[in-house]
């Protein structure tokens, strides 16, 4: 049944996934060309010096694209489920709703991770091509909270979508906006270097709340 569920989810979101992957690719290419042109306009030692001294995050264009990637994938994966009450049918399958939710969310998270891996590898290649390894290392730690923040956005969006109670939905929106904003604070390199694991833990806690919404949803439709 898991294979069928994965196939169903893939059929539903494949074009969105391809679109989001294309947008991410274009943004990464944009970062590449911007950096290439910077090195054409200014001498390399000036660029390295300015980047180092002012902590210029030359890949910052990807920051909110990552946020939007999680948000859009969540909308396209779960809006039809709620709007066309498909989730109601899914929950009638001979499986526990927790397991079904876990499998559906896993598909989305895995697709997000595949886009993020592409971004991370591309940015790493760009970084190591032009700049010393210190920039590559700092890029990884700088962008990591953005990737995790995108997954957290995706998870909160699903929680909000499937929560049947409007009061709880509103409270979830307030909490979600607050929690997600924590991942995108700070300017400069590696600001989350000493706290990234707390944010991973926070995302883990937030993920479990999906099951409460699913439980409420099922109870609401019984």
């Amino acid at each position: 049944m898991f294979k069928s569920l994965v196939f169903k989810e893939w059929l539903k979101i494949r074009w969105v996934f391809i679109g989001l992957a294309a947008v991410n690719f274009l943004v990464v290419m944009n970062i590449y060309f911007d950096l290439l042109n910077t090195f054409k306009v200014y001498s390399a030692n000036v660029v390295v010096g300015q980047f180092q001294a002012y902590e210029i995050v030359f890949y910052s264009n990807i920051k909110y694209i990552l946020l939007l990637t999680g948000l859009i994938l969540g909308v396209f994966q779960f809006f039809p489920e709620i709007n066309q009450t498909r989730l109601k049918l899914t929950f009638h399958l001979p499986r526990k709703e927790n397991k079904l939710m876990f499998q559906m969310v896993s598909v989305g998270v895995l697709l997000l991770i595949s886009i993020f891996l592409f971004d991370a590898v591309s940015l790493s290649i760009i970084c190591t091509k032009f700049l010393p390894r210190e920039f590559f290392e700092s890029m990884l730690i700088t962008t990591l909270p953005w990737y995790i923040g995108s997954i957290c956005t995706y998870i909160w969006l699903i929680t909000i979508f499937i929560e049947p109670n409007w009061v709880k939905k509103t409270i979830s929106i307030l909490v979600a906006v607050g929690i997600v904003s924590l991942f995108y604070a700070g300017e400069g390199y590696g600001k989350y270097a000493f706290s990234i694991w707390y944010f991973v833990l926070l995302t883990g806690f937030c993920s479990s709340i999906i099951f409460l919404s699913a439980y409420n949803f099922k109870r609401g439709i019984c």
Partner: protein, 421 residues
């Protein structure tokens, strides 16, 4: 299943408590931001006393420590070394002070300012630095074509090719090894800008806590063990080149001591700073022809010590004002927030969850909210055991826990009971 849902419900409540403890106090302090008053401390060589320049949103006040006010012109005459260009323009620069003739060039040479604040100390910049040519024979310093790192060896990376310059790397690495440098470095401190009068390179702490002075002179390495004690506990070095060439920079230690590294064979000069916490306060050092003023700026005041040029204490002055905790908004916050969480802090550039605990005042509100919670939950026929859990949460987390209890709303969790919402 029921047990899992209850656990998730508790997690949701904790997430709500956590989010509330960040955003409600943040919003509260945004709505209750107090005005910032700034005080610049000077020591007048004319009156031989401290004079203060106090500024806020309404304007600037010039006073001495007894409260006597001056106008701008009078103030500028009291601190001639700071305002010597203005006094030269108006013809009011004294020819002599205390019998010493006053030459503008000398004033300019002796005016120095250094600062060490917690953000500078806690920052972790990319460990990649330009090494300037210190004796190029040119008026201006020029940016080097490569940057160095000190890991297992000293490596120069040419920016244009992004490749290691092996020859230069080996030259500097062997020079460091000859001097007894223990790789890798624990800290590299310098002033990596071309906008300085000359270059003194970097002070580098090796793996055995010895401090080395590294620069490049006519393309050759200058590496010297400074002999600065390795047990000093250095947390920061502010290395700045001044034409005065009296000291290379300022050392801050983990014991909250401050030292100048003198040009006299790196001899340390301990500065008489008082009541200084390098993780909380900003240390500002201003020097002129006659004095050194050491100011420790705190959130709610400052300590200042003035010394002569031999670092003998001449005078001291402290001032304090109510901090944000002592103001009305701060007192109210201590009653309503049992704790607050911030992700940013003035003393560090890093994002983290910084917890600030309130005093016991918050128990008043927590107890009131606890009583309301118990009544509310009893009215909803919640089991006594659960009321106990929620009560503990409200007692410990005050209004945040109360909000979480209200947000959870339904507490009956028997999955067999269908409920239309």
């Amino acid at each position: 299943m029921l047990k899992q849902i209850n656990i998730i419900r508790i997690i949701l409540m904790l997430v709500i408590v956590f989010a509330a403890s960040i955003f409600i106090p943040d919003f509260y302090w945004k709505a209750n931001k107090h005005e910032i008053n700034r005080t610049n401390v000077y020591y007048s060589p004319i009156k031989k006393c401290f004079v203060l320049l106090k500024s806020d949103v309404r304007g600037v006040k010039y006073t001495d420590i007894k409260g006597k006010q001056f106008n701008r012109d009078e103030f500028e005459e009291l601190v001639p070394f700071v305002n010597f260009r203005q006094l030269m323009l108006t013809g009011k620069l004294p020819d002599t002070i205390d019998g010493q003739s006053i030459v503008p060039k000398e004033i300019n040479l002796n005016n120095v300012t250094l600062r060490a604040n917690p953000v500078m100390i806690n920052s972790r910049p990319l460990q990649l630095f330009p090494l300037f040519e210190s004796a190029s024979g040119r008026v201006r310093l020029e940016l080097s074509p490569d940057y160095f790192r000190i890991d297992k060896r000293m490596e120069f990376i040419t920016s244009l090719t992004n490749e290691v310059n092996e020859e230069k790397s080996q030259l500097f690495t062997s020079a460091l090894q000859k001097e007894g440098f223990n790789f890798p470095s624990k800290g590299i401190y310098g002033n990596p800008t071309t906008k300085k009068p000359f270059d003194e390179g970097y002070f580098v702490i090796d793996n055995s806590n010895k401090v080395f002075h590294i620069k490049m002179v006519k393309g050759q390495p200058f590496c010297k063990n400074t002999g600065i004690p390795s047990n000093l506990g250095i947390v920061f070095i502010s290395a700045i080149e001044f034409e005065l060439r009296e000291f290379y920079g300022l050392i801050i230690t983990d014991k909250n001591e401050a030292y100048f590294i003198s040009y006299d064979n790196y001899k340390l000069i301990q500065l008489p700073v008082e009541d200084y916490d390098h993780q909380e306060n900003t240390l500002q050092i201003k020097g002129d022809l006659f004095y050194r003023i050491l100011v420790v700026n705190k959130e709610n005041g400052f300590n200042s010590v003035v010394t002569d040029r031999n670092y003998k204490v001449v005078d001291k002055y402290n001032e304090s004002w109510p901090g944000k905790e002592s103001r009305t908004a701060g007192i109210i916050s201590s009653y309503i927030f049992p704790f607050t969480v911030t992700i940013e802090k003035d003393t560090t550039p890093f994002i983290n969850f910084y917890f600030n605990y309130s005093n016991l005042h918050c128990l008043f509100l927590s107890v009131v909210l606890l009583i309301i919670t118990v009544f509310y939950l009893r009215k909803k026929n919640v089991a006594a055991k659960k009321i106990g859990y929620f009560s503990v949460l409200v007692l410990l987390t005050g209004m945040y826990g109360f909000i979480a209890v209200l947000a959870i709303k339904d507490f009956d969790d028997d999955p067999s009971i269908s409920k239309n919402l």
